[in-house]
C-alpha cells in the first residue's frame, strides 16, 4: 500500500477513522452520501408538488370514476405490506454490509428485490384493471393526477430495483469495499425514502380517497 495520496479536496485529507459506520469512513464516499441526502430532499419536493396537484384536483372527476370507485382495498393493502417489508429487508442488507457479511448482504438484496418486484407487479395489475374499466388518465384531471403521482412513485421503485440489482452485482464481484459500502447504503436510503413516499400515497390517496 502506498501512502494515501492527497484527496481531491482539502477537508479531511484521506483520514479514515474506524469509529464511524463503514460507509462514512472514507471521506470520498461520505461526501457522496451527503450529496445523495440532498438529492432526496429535492426528490421529496418533487413528490410534494405532485401531492399538491393531486390534492387540488382530487375531486375533479368530470363525472367519471371517483377515488372511492376505483381503489381496491386488498390490492393496496398488499402493496403496502410488500413495500414496508422490503424496506425492512433493505435495512437488513445495510446491517449485513456494516457487519462485513457479504453473503447476507447479497441475500437480503435479493429478498428486497423480490418484494419490490411483487409490489410493482401488483401496481401494474391495478393500473391495467383501472384502464380496462375505462379509468384512463385521459378521462379526468383526477385520474391524470392519480396515475401521475402513483406512477411516478412506481417508476422510482422500478429505477430502484434496477439500481439495487446493479449494486448487488458489484458487491458480488468486488466484495464490501468503502465504495461498494457507500453504494449499498445509498441505494437503501433511496429505497427507504420510497417507502416513506408510499406511506403518504396510501394515506393521502387511498385511505383518504376511501373516506372522503
Amino acid at each position: 500500500m502506498m501512502a494515501m495520496p492527497d484527496a481531491i479536496y482539502g477537508g479531511h485529507s484521506g483520514v479514515t477513522s474506524s469509529d464511524k459506520p463503514l460507509e462514512y469512513r472514507d471521506p470520498n464516499q461520505s461526501v457522496k452520501i451527503l450529496g445523495f441526502w440532498l438529492f432526496l430532499a429535492t426528490d421529496m419536493l418533487l413528490f410534494g408538488c405532485l401531492f399538491a396537484t393531486y390534492l387540488v384536483v382530487r375531486t375533479h372527476t368530470d363525472g367519471g370514476p371517483t377515488a372511492r370507485s376505483i381503489f381496491d382495498i386488498p390490492g393496496f393493502t398488499l402493496e403496502t405490506f410488500f413495500l414496508l417489508t422490503s424496506s425492512f429487508t433493505g435495512g437488513l442488507s445495510t446491517l449485513a454490509m456494516r457487519n462485513g457479511n457479504k453473503k447476507a448482504l447479497v441475500s437480503w438484496f435479493a429478498v428486497t428485490i423480490a418484494l419490490g418486484l411483487a409490489f410493482i407487479g401488483l401496481e401494474v395489475h391495478e393500473f391495467i384493471g383501472d384502464v380496462a374499466s375505462g379509468a384512463t388518465w385521459e378521462r379526468s384531471a383526477f385520474l391524470s393526477a392519480f396515475f401521475t403521482l402513483v406512477g411516478t412513485h412506481g417508476s422510482h421503485v422500478t429505477v430502484g430495483l434496477v439500481w439495487m440489482f446493479l449494486t448487488l452485482l458489484q458487491v458480488a464481484k468486488r466484495g464490501i469495499t468503502p465504495i461498494t459500502a457507500r453504494k449499498v447504503f445509498v441505494v437503501n436510503l433511496y429505497w427507504h425514502f420510497l417507502d416513506v413516499v408510499w406511506v403518504f400515497i396510501f394515506t393521502v390517496v387511498y385511505l383518504s380517497g376511501r373516506v372522503m
Binding site: 384536483v57 375531486t59 375533479h60 368530470d62
Partner: protein, 339 residues
C-alpha cells in the same frame, strides 16, 4: 486613478430622477389613468399606492443620498483626508437601526395593505345603500362580452354603467385566461375559464373609461380594449331601453360565432340566451368550485339576489339543468345579508 466619475454620475442621476418627477407631477392628467381615478375603488388603491411610495421613499431616498455622499467622500484620491478605518466592521447600534427601520415600515405598510385588501372584497362603503348592478363579463378570443342579467341585454367591447352605483362584475372566460382592467375605475382581476370571480367597481364621475385585457391571450391580445361608459342613471336607463328596442338578439349560434377567435368592434344585443354565463362556467369545469354549488347555485353567492330583477332572461340558474345537485341550488335567498 480616475475618480471624477462618480459625482458626475451622481448629478446626472439626480437630474434624471428630477426630470421624471416633473414628468409625473405635471402629467397627472387623463393619461395617467392610475393616478386619476374616477371612482372609490380606484381612489382607495391610489391611496395605497401613494402611501407605499412615501413609505418606501423614507428609506430609499436616504439610501441614495448616503451612497452618493459616501462614494464621493471616501474615494481613493491622493490627498483625501477622510478617515480610513480598514478594520472597522461591526457596530451593533447601527445594525439595530437598519434592521429596525425597515421592520417598522413593513409593519405599517403591511397593516394598510391588509386593511385595503379586505375592504376591496366588499362593495364600496360610500354607496352602501345603493342597490348594486351586476354585469357578467366573459373574455373571449379576442373580445369582451358583457351581459346585464338585470337588464337582459348584452354588449361586446363596451359597457355602460350608471354613476354612483356599485357594479358587481362577475368575471369568467371562454378562452385563455385574461384579466379585466379598467384603470380609472380600479384594479384588475383575472377572468378564468371554469370560475367566476367578483370585482366591485364604481364610477362617480360620468365619462368614458379605457379598459383592456391585462393578461396575454395570444395574437389578438393587443386589440382587446373596451370602454366603460359611465352616465347618469336616467341616461343609463335610456340606453338600456334603446338597446332593447333597436339591437338584435344574441342567439346560441351567435355566441358560438362570437367565440371564434377574431378581433371585432363593439356590438349590442337586446337579449341573450338564458343561462349563457353560468353555462360557460359549468361547461368548463365550474362544478369544481366548491362554494359555487353548495348554497346558492349562483356562481357567486350574492350573484342573483343582490339585484331584484335578477330573474329575467339572464336567470343565472337555467344554464345548469345538467347539474346534479339542482336541489342544493334552490336554497337561495335568505342566507344573504347583502344590502
Amino acid at each position: 486613478m480616475k475618480t471624477g466619475h462618480s459625482p458626475r454620475r451622481a448629478k446626472s442621476l439626480t437630474f434624471l430622477s428630477a426630470a421624471l418627477l416633473v414628468l409625473f407631477a405635471t402629467g397627472c392628467g387623463r393619461q395617467y389613468m392610475v393616478l386619476d381615478p374616477a371612482g372609490p375603488v380606484g381612489r382607495e388603491e391610489l391611496h395605497l399606492i401613494v402611501m407605499s411610495a412615501i413609505l418606501v421613499g423614507i428609506v430609499i431616498i436616504p439610501v441614495l443620498i448616503l451612497l452618493f455622499y459616501i462614494v464621493w467622500r471616501y474615494r481613493d484620491k491622493p490627498g483625501n483626508t477622510a478617515p480610513y478605518t480598514p478594520k472597522w466592521s461591526e457596530s451593533k447600534g447601527l445594525e439595530v437601526v437598519w434592521w429596525g427601520i425597515p421592520i417598522v415600515i413593513v409593519g405599517v405598510l403591511g397593516a394598510f395593505t391588509a386593511k385595503t385588501t379586505f375592504a376591496l372584497t366588499k362593495p364600496p362603503a360610500e354607496s352602501a345603500d345603493v342597490t348594486p348592478i351586476t354585469i357578467q363579463v366573459t373574455s373571449l378570443d379576442w373580445k369582451w362580452l358583457f351581459q346585464y342579467p338585470g337588464q337582459g341585454i348584452a354588449t361586446v367591447n363596451y359597457a355602460e354603467i350608471p354613476t354612483g352605483v356599485p357594479i358587481q362584475f362577475e368575471l369568467t372566460s371562454d378562452a385563455p385566461m385574461n384579466s379585466f382592467w379598467v384603470p380609472q375605475l380600479g384594479g384588475q382581476e383575472y377572468t378564468m375559464p371554469g370560475m367566476a370571480m367578483r370585482l366591485w367597481l364604481e364610477a362617480d364621475k360620468a365619462g368614458t373609461y379605457y379598459g383592456h385585457g391585462a393578461n396575454f391571450t395570444g395574437a389578438g391580445f393587443a386589440h382587446m380594449d373596451f370602454n366603460v361608459i359611465a352616465t347618469s342613471d336616467s341616461n343609463f336607463e335610456a340606453w338600456v331601453k334603446q338597446v332593447k328596442a333597436s339591437s338584435p338578439a344574441l342567439t346560441k349560434a351567435g355566441y358560438a360565432q362570437l367565440k371564434e377567435p377574431s378581433v371585432i368592434g363593439t356590438k349590442s344585443y337586446s337579449s341573450f340566451p338564458p343561462g349563457l354565463f353560468n353555462g360557460t362556467i359549468w361547461a368548463d369545469g365550474g362544478q369544481y368550485m366548491p362554494n359555487m354549488m353548495n348554497q346558492t347555485g349562483s356562481p357567486l353567492k350574492a350573484g342573483i339576489h343582490t339585484n331584484s330583477t335578477g330573474v329575467g332572461s339572464g336567470d343565472s340558474m337555467s344554464g345548469m339543468s345538467n347539474m346534479t345537485n339542482m336541489s342544493a341550488m334552490s336554497a337561495t335567498g335568505t342566507s344573504s345579508s347583502q344590502k
